[in-house]
């Protein structure tokens, strides 16, 4: 990356270009141990407590979509960054950037969704800011939410993933790609046999359900921009273990598969907003799977793979037809403004 380049859409993809931008600009300049961990939530140790702190800006287009809107997404997305770090989400701030001319009724509907989503997740919206720019200077509304969670001391290993070891099992909490395809369908006015709804939802009830015994869990991450593929490659990058994933066990709706084939998308790279990947102790895989399946947002949970020593640093997919391929990080951008 050199200073003569310009920002590309792919720099916001959540994949390789985003990572380059973060490594070469942000981490280099803002260098400190808390940031260089590159977790979605940073773990802060105050004098007497450990707190998780996270931020996300939401620029999704369209702002209203099947299964949600930008406000619902802004709350659940930040709740999810907090809860997969092992923390209990508590406090949320909201920063609005609004384009002049946005109907007040749209803003009210968005804010109503935020309030009900916050209530559902048990978090309090405690700080806010509103900026208005002229027509054409932003697109309708962008929302930043930042969040604070409290981390019980027996969950500190979750965020770093430092206890991951060979033999551990990898699970996903449900079907992949619903959010991305719902947005695509809304944008392109696709008529589908079965309407696909975004999976936008707060996952903190699900993470609490699996954290009854925190030592069962090695790692969790919500599967957003960049998709499952990006998380799998990040988890084992530069590590002395690799990942084996079995494609036939990855849950994907038939309707999502069909649209992926039509558009040439790989569902492993699609964004989700109510799904997570978990790495669990081998001995705990069934109890965790059961705990996931008893929750509304975990009914389609499956075991998709395991941690292995046979190919350190690499995530390998065994395809449905039996072939094996290395999973790469997303390069470029499939669907801009997906979140």
């Amino acid at each position: 990356m050199n200073r003569n380049e310009v920002i590309l859409i792919g720099h916001g993809s959540g994949g390789r270009l985003t990572r380059e931008l973060i490594d070469e600009i942000f981490v280099k300049k803002f260098d400190n141990p808390l940031l260089s961990g590159l977790h979605d939530a940073s773990i802060i140790e105050t004098d007497s407590e450990k707190i998780a702190f996270t931020t996300d800006s939401y620029v999704i287009d369209p702002i209203f979509f099947p299964g949600g809107n930008i406000g619902k997404l802004a709350i659940s997305g930040t709740v999810n960054d907090l809860c997969v770090s092992g923390s209990i989400p508590k406090y949320i701030s909201c920063g609005f950037i609004i384009e002049e001319g946005l109907p007040i009724s749209d803003l009210e509907n968005i804010v109503t969704s935020m309030a009900s989503e916050a209530e559902r997740a048990g978090v309090f919206i405690v700080a806010g800011d509103t900026k208005v720019v002229k027509r054409g200077q932003c697109d309708k509304i962008f929302i930043n939410t930042s969040g604070i969670g409290i981390i019980p001391s027996d969950r500190l290993h979750i965020s770093s993933g430092k206890t991951i070891q060979p033999g551990d099992k990898i699970l996903v909490s449900g079907t992949l790609g619903d959010h991305a395809i719902a947005i695509l369908a809304a944008r392109e006015n696709l008529t589908l046999d079965e309407e696909i709804q975004s999976d936008t939802a707060p996952l903190n009830k699900l993470t609490e359900a699996v954290l009854v015994h925190p030592s069962d869990l090695r790692f969790m991450r919500d599967i957003t921009r960049g998709g499952l593929a990006t998380i799998l490659t990040e988890v084992c990058e530069n590590k002395d273990f690799g990942i084996d994933v079995d494609e036939k066990n990855i849950p994907i709706r038939q309707s999502v598969k069909s649209i992926c084939e039509l558009y040439g998308f790989d569902p492993l790279y699609l964004a989700n907003e109510g799904k997570m990947m978990l790495i669990v102790r081998q001995e705990s895989e069934n109890i965790i799977l059961q705990r996931l399946k008893t929750e509304k947002h975990g009914v389609d949970a499956t075991i998709i793979g395991e941690i292995t020593i046979s190919h350190p640093g690499k995530a390998i997919l065994k395809s449905v037809i039996g072939g094996r391929r290395i999973i790469e990080m997303l390069s470029g951008e499939m669907l801009p403004r997906i979140c």
Copy 2:
């Protein structure tokens, strides 16, 4: 405000329309005691500590201006919201929304400023997020920063202002309007005899200097969008005390005054990014004034008025020529995208 209306530029002014939007949409929907205080930083009580939490989005235009840039502003603005609440600013998150095509060199310059400003203020940037939107979907770059500060228990009265009483003195830490006029000059390509620089600066060294004995202080607020006038009206609104301010004691540069006359601006409503208003115990006015004046960002500090029982709920300005007028909250918008 009804659902058939649309968002106006004035809804982002920091004045009356912003307040209406906050009261009628945000506070109504997000109702909780922490938010309805309407402070810039919310005070959160965890099991063992009290923390301040704040958020601001920065959409300033132009992104580079005399005395700073959007990155410097994004750090110091959020540091200031934290420190005037009586907290010690500690951790900052950054959310970037970038327009496709922004030169990498611009981003790098902005991020470099953020890093040096964070170092100067002694805060750590611990969480980040980057979104990229297509050309024309935002204007160059918007930055949200959220911040966490720790509040020593003997400073809890600062944020609420609940100890304010008649006889207390009102101070400002320096000249008003420099930021707004610097931005105006940059936007309009004004040629001035003396270049006016934005006062963008972190104020936490200044707040620490005056908080040696926290009981000397009743209240602090950084003077940003909406200007000194808006803070004065907010402080005494619905209270059993009022405010008297003496115009001749309000420090304003001659060059700022001249431009205000030319454009018909009232400097009391102009935005600042490195100035604060303080309310102090009558007995402590001189020691606090001295402490301010020994600091770089407080050399022009003055005592401008006092808390009075003679006109409860109203802030009244005694003008240079001797008249008296009620100070109203800003209505409409003087300079959009000033921060």
